[in-house]
């Protein structure tokens, strides 16, 4: 392979990369024979000849891409174009907190102590796609919030792909650390600007120390030529609260591997998602909550609306270790199938080894209530809008926990657009 010429052998994480590469060579891409990939095939992606390292730097004008930013509010921005950092579009800071680049964090000696402690510590060392990322990722966001700090504004991480390459493989790598009592809000987005194929294999590691609060919003509304494999690993210490909201509306194939490890007591983990798909879109949500310590809570709520030929997959796994007594773990997955050709596969899974726990999961697949629809129609609301209104209501309680009002407003607009209606009130 021609990768060697692009790899810096002197790099501090070179050993990790070599190790990871070995693992990937051993395992290869996951196939449908593996239980975790039973419902998602990567075959179509493997046929494409992706270029791994873009040849040239590409620039974008802010006004061209302004709509993809959360422009209503001020935010720190870490922007990548075809995987390469764009200083022109970005706004980073070192003022009390570090919101900057992975590449500089990996190379500059001043970050070395943090990298040594955190980099690749929680990310899987044997999951093949994660190790592929570890082996080849060069860039991403690096966010370090020291004790008792909170950045003045939310952080936006945006990846643009320009389509200047016929097909591109992006492998961003993010490292996010919130020390004791720190607080942080992150909004992440991947956006392809043309109809050329893009595959993103992203890995994010989040460390939340005691009492830290992290809110992470993933907006997945990419063009329908883009595929995303998003691997997120979260390590939580005592009394920390981390929430991840995933909004999946776009993309061709999206696979979310969201892993929570509760390494402390009184931890609160929240994962919520709204998925609305049409066409031949495929979204696979794979969540894992590992309750390692006692007295913790986890809340999961995923809503899905599947139309046309779309396929939705939900696989939620809760593991409660023997010592993790007094765990409260809740999982909810509700789905609406609105087309004859849409498919939903769901597997809410519990593995419980402790006895003094409250664990429950619920899962439904159904249709809109005909009576409710009739009620709305009888009051002069056209059928299409009535349906959209009901679907909106169906997804709404996931939005209730979104803490940035502008993000909520943006998601509402995306939902209305995806449902193809103007609901006539400001969502």
């Amino acid at each position: 392979m021609a990768f060697e010429s692009n790899v810096d052998i002197e790099h501090p994480v070179h050993d990790l990369r070599t190790e990871a590469m070995k693992n990937f060579e051993l395992k290869g891409f996951p196939s449908k024979k593996e239980e975790a990939w039973k419902y998602t095939s990567l075959n179509s992606l493997q046929k494409i000849d992706f270029s791994i390292f873009p040849k040239e730097e590409n620039a974008l004008e802010y006004k061209e891409v302004k709509k993809y930013f959360l422009h209503e509010i001020d935010s720190y921005k870490i922007v990548f174009i075809d995987g390469i950092y764009s200083s022109y579009l970005s706004e980073t800071t070192h003022d009390g907190v570090d919101i900057c680049l992975m590449s500089s964090a990996l190379t500059k000696p001043m970050y070395r102590p943090v990298i040594d402690v955190y980099f690749n510590k929680i990310a899987s060392k044997d999951e093949s796609l994660t190790t592929l990322n570890t082996a080849f990722s060069r860039e991403g966001a690096y966010i370090y919030i020291p004790k008792n700090k909170m950045p003045k504004k939310p952080v936006e991480i945006i990846h643009f792909s320009t389509g200047n390459e016929a097909s591109l493989l992006l492998q961003p790598r993010n490292l996010i650390i919130a020390e004791e009592n720190a607080e942080l809000q992150v909004i992440e987005r991947h956006q392809s600007l043309t109809s050329n194929e893009v595959l993103t294999n992203s890995v994010t590691e989040i460390f939340a120390a005691d009492n830290a609060i992290v809110d992470y919003y993933k907006i997945q509304n990419d063009a329908e030529n883009a595929s995303l494999i998003d691997n997120t690993y979260i390590d939580q210490k005592s009394k920390s609260a981390v929430s991840v909201h995933t909004f999946s509306f776009g993309g061709k194939l999206t696979r979310n591997n969201l892993n929570f490890y509760q390494n402390g007591q009184h931890v609160d983990s929240t994962m919520k998602g709204v998925t609305i798909l049409g066409n031949k879109q495929h979204v696979d949500h794979h969540t894992l909550v590992h309750h390692i310590e006692p007295n913790c809570e986890s809340h999961q709520d995923y809503k899905g609306i599947y139309g046309e030929n779309a396929t939705g997959v939900f696989n939620g796994k809760i593991i409660v270790d023997k010592i993790a007594q007094k765990t409260n773990a809740f999982q909810q997955n509700n789905n609406l199938l609105v087309s004859d050709k849409a498919t939903i596969n769901t597997k809410p899974q519990l593995e419980i080894f402790a006895d003094d726990v409250k664990c429950s999961h619920g899962c439904t697949i159904g249709q809109l209530d005909e009576d409710a629809l009739f009620y709305l129609q009888s009051r002069g609301i056209p059928k299409k809008e009535a349906r959209a209104l009901l679907m909106y209501a169906f997804a709404n309680n996931v939005l209730a926990s979104v803490r940035i009002p502008e993000v909520k407003a943006r998601i509402n607009k995306l939902i209305a657009k995806k449902l193809g209606v103007n609901l006539g009130f400001d969502l």
């Binding site: 597997k347 519990l350 006895d355 664990c359 697949i365």
Partner: protein
Amino acid sequence: MAYTEEELKKELETKEYEYGFYTDIESDTLPVGLNEDIIIAISKKKEEPEWMTLWRLEAFKYWKEMEEPEWANVHYKKPDFQSISYYSAPNKKPKYNSLDEVDPELLETFKKLGISVDEQKKLAGVAVDIVMDSVSVATTFKKTLAEKGIIFCSISEAIKEHPELVKKYIGSVVPKRDNFYAALNSAVFSDGSFCYIPKGVKCPMELSTYFRINQAGTGQFERTLVIADEGSYVSYLEGCTAPSRDENQLHAAVVELIALDDAEIKYSTVQNWFPGDKEGKGGVYNFVTKRGLCEKNAKISWTQVETGSAVTWKYPSCILKGDNSIGEFYSIAVTNNFQQADTGTKMIHLGKNTRSTIISKGISAGKSQNSYRGLVQVNSRAENARNFSQCDSLLMGNECGAHTFPYIEAKNKTAQIEHEATTSKIGEDQIFYCNQRGIDTEKAIALIVNGFSKEVLNKLPMEFAVEAQKLLEISLEGSVG
């Protein structure tokens, strides 16, 4: 609290298997090992026609190409298939006309089991087909059934006397190459029950089979085929026990149910194979394939109470092929000590307006692992399919595990599927409430476990429900008064 978990644990550990005794009956056993000659020998011993021998050999061919499944959430030492004797029949085998002719030692065995044939005959009005170490020894009430045109006999008898029915239906629901154990069973099955209910006949009594593994080092491979012709009804009971023995015994059965248009089959199982001792030594490996096919407006209902076996791997399923057909699954699985159970169901919705209900209750104690694994599949042409699933787990002690693996696949927009699962322990407040009303802790736990399982116990036929309740108590003795 007067009653601590420590005490509970101790009591559970010291609890011995009550049905562990060995009956000394001369058996006619084939040499250990598995090859084509053995299969031909089994077939010959059973005086089978040639098509059956060929059928077995074909299954054996498939089996050789297959690998033992590893996906289940159970861990055990793989049985060595070459060190098992595939056939063991009680030696003195006259063709009985009445119970009096049965080997008195055998009858003694049944008495110890508490299923004394004649007693059941008189009291319960149950026709029993007993399979002891693979050969059906006694079939009672045959005459009464024959008057209605019902065929209830051993499968080997059916192969000889009703080849057209057997040929048509055997392997139609569980094909020879369905899975590793089904293929093995198809190749070597030694006996089992056959039941045919003619058109429009409502079987006047509960049909029952009792399985028991007796001979050391034998695997039991029985095959059950139940056919309910159009508009008929049958309720079928199956119970299993095995004497305690140090080595693991293998049990790989196949049960096929066929419910033709408007027919209804109710199949109840109480399984109490030897679960191994408190160190997890010995016990039965229970790898069973059970499946039913529903034609139009037909209904199949599986009810199971699983308290035995060291390792259980069992998924009674319904293929809802006909429109308006109904599938039901009610299960209680109790594991204690080192038992492992991976059990559940598959509901495959193919026809329109098909409905299925799944109620599964898992109780784990000791160091056991209890898993529910289920599949609800709605195919694209199954309009208005409806499913409701509920799996509840109860954990007793902090060294056991409860797991749920529900797979739900929907390809039709009119499908309505609900699934809910909970895991909990017996609440301290519940026990306090009982204590406060003068009910001691042990009785309180019994009350609560009983209440927890009631939904399923209620589905069992009366005589069986009593036995099942007894079994629950034995399995969880110490916690259940």
